[in-house]
């Protein structure tokens, strides 16, 4: 198999693009896709300070790597979920990456913010662990960005993440979620920062290949709580469809974004308030994060 650009031996085949690339040309392809995502959705400007949410996994560290090389001013944010050895190791990967690239890294402990780490939250709420974890992550990313006066948070969500989320929303016809699913969510309140996903054009295999070729030391082991997660089941289904019909995931997501999403966008904007406790944005009186912290407090004191 030969590289589509230079004719040298290829190291990666991208069936959905009907192409294969050598290592240098694949890295170029990858960076071009990130540039295109940032440009198309006006994710951030050259002079903006970007908070990059990093988990120690391939996606977020690959994203940070590209943004640094593109010359953006970035700060990493690692949210310590307190998930046993997995969190210890993933934090060490982020710290090592930040030190090697000479970029700042902020660390926030979920246990400090919520009152307990994710394994305890899981037991207290009796809901899937990813539920309280996702809620805490979204809340803390926004709060930390505001505290540090950064207007935008970038996450490492890739094409597979977005397609799996879309499938989950469609299966339950969650029209609220469908109206919000986007590679770039604008700020709709002064206390809500912009959220962007510059890797949404790249598959999970492509981000893994980029991280490998760039010798990024990332955590390969999966979060112990991800086993059995619905999002993983949806990814497996989509991967089988992709295998049978290359481009299926891309067409599913991009078709939605271009043709279907506008139909789900609400005619009337949701009314956003400030939480009576913490002051962060909520649609109610007290935000879901404060309710979660209350629940944890009641169960653990």
């Amino acid at each position: 198999m030969k590289c589509r650009k230079c004719g040298e031996p290829a190291i990666l085949e991208l069936r959905r693009h009907n192409a294969a690339f050598c290592a240098p040309d694949f890295v170029d392809f990858f960076r071009n896709q990130v540039r295109e995502a940032i440009r198309k959705h006006r994710m951030f400007a050259r002079d903006e300070h970007v908070l990059v949410a990093v988990s120690g996994g391939k996606d977020s560290l690959a994203l940070w790597d590209v943004l640094i090389d593109e010359g953006y001013r970035t700060t990493g944010l690692y949210l310590d979920l307190g998930i046993f050895d997995y969190s210890v190791e993933s934090k060490a990967k982020c710290e090592a990456f930040a030190a090697r690239r000479g970029v700042p890294l902020l660390v926030t402990r979920v246990a400090e913010a919520v009152g307990a780490p994710v394994p305890v939250i899981k037991n207290v709420t009796r809901r899937p662990p990813c539920s309280g974890c996702g809620l805490s992550k979204r809340y803390l990313m926004n709060r930390v960005a505001l505290e540090h006066e950064m207007a935008v948070v970038a996450t490492g969500h890739n094409l597979d993440d977005e397609a799996a989320t879309l499938l989950g929303s469609v299966l339950h016809w969650q029209t609220d979620a469908l109206s919000r699913q986007s590679p770039a969510l604008p700020s709709t309140h002064r206390k809500l920062v912009r959220r962007v996903k510059p890797l949404y054009r790249l598959s999970e295999r492509e981000t893994a290949a980029y991280a490998f070729l760039r010798r990024i030391d990332y955590i390969v082991e999966e979060c112990p709580f991800a086993k059995g997660a619905t999002s993983i089941a949806h990814k497996e289904i989509l991967s089988r469809m992709e295998d049978a019909s290359p481009g299926a995931k891309h067409n599913f997501l991009f078709g939605f974004l271009e043709k279907a999403r506008p139909a789900f966008e609400r005619a009337e904007a949701v009314t956003l308030n400030e939480c009576a406790r913490c002051g962060q944005v909520t649609t109610g009186t007290v935000c879901a994060f404060c309710k979660l912290a209350d629940q944890v407090k009641r169960a653990t004191v």
């Binding site: 539920s131 974890c133 996702g134 295999r205």
Partner: protein
């Protein structure tokens, strides 16, 4: 050939002299879900792996809270 699998990490021995795509098919692994690593390089599905060689099939899927 030796094949290294992850999550959990384990190794299996298979007869060499076969293309990567045939190895993946025998192990019932969807090509889209793994990187195929030989030494410091990635290899494409049409490459032949010899009996004395080792390849790693590294899963690319991550997930949970998004």
């Amino acid at each position: 050939m030796k094949v290294i699998l992850r999550n959990p990490r384990r190794e299996v021995e298979l007869a060499g002299g076969r293309r990567v795509k045939d190895v993946l098919r025998e192990l019932d692994i969807i090509p889209e879900t793994v990187l195929v690593i030989r030494g410091d390089d990635l290899v494409t599905a049409d490459q032949v792996v010899q009996d004395h060689e080792t390849i790693e099939l590294r899963p690319v899927m991550s997930g949970g809270a998004v």
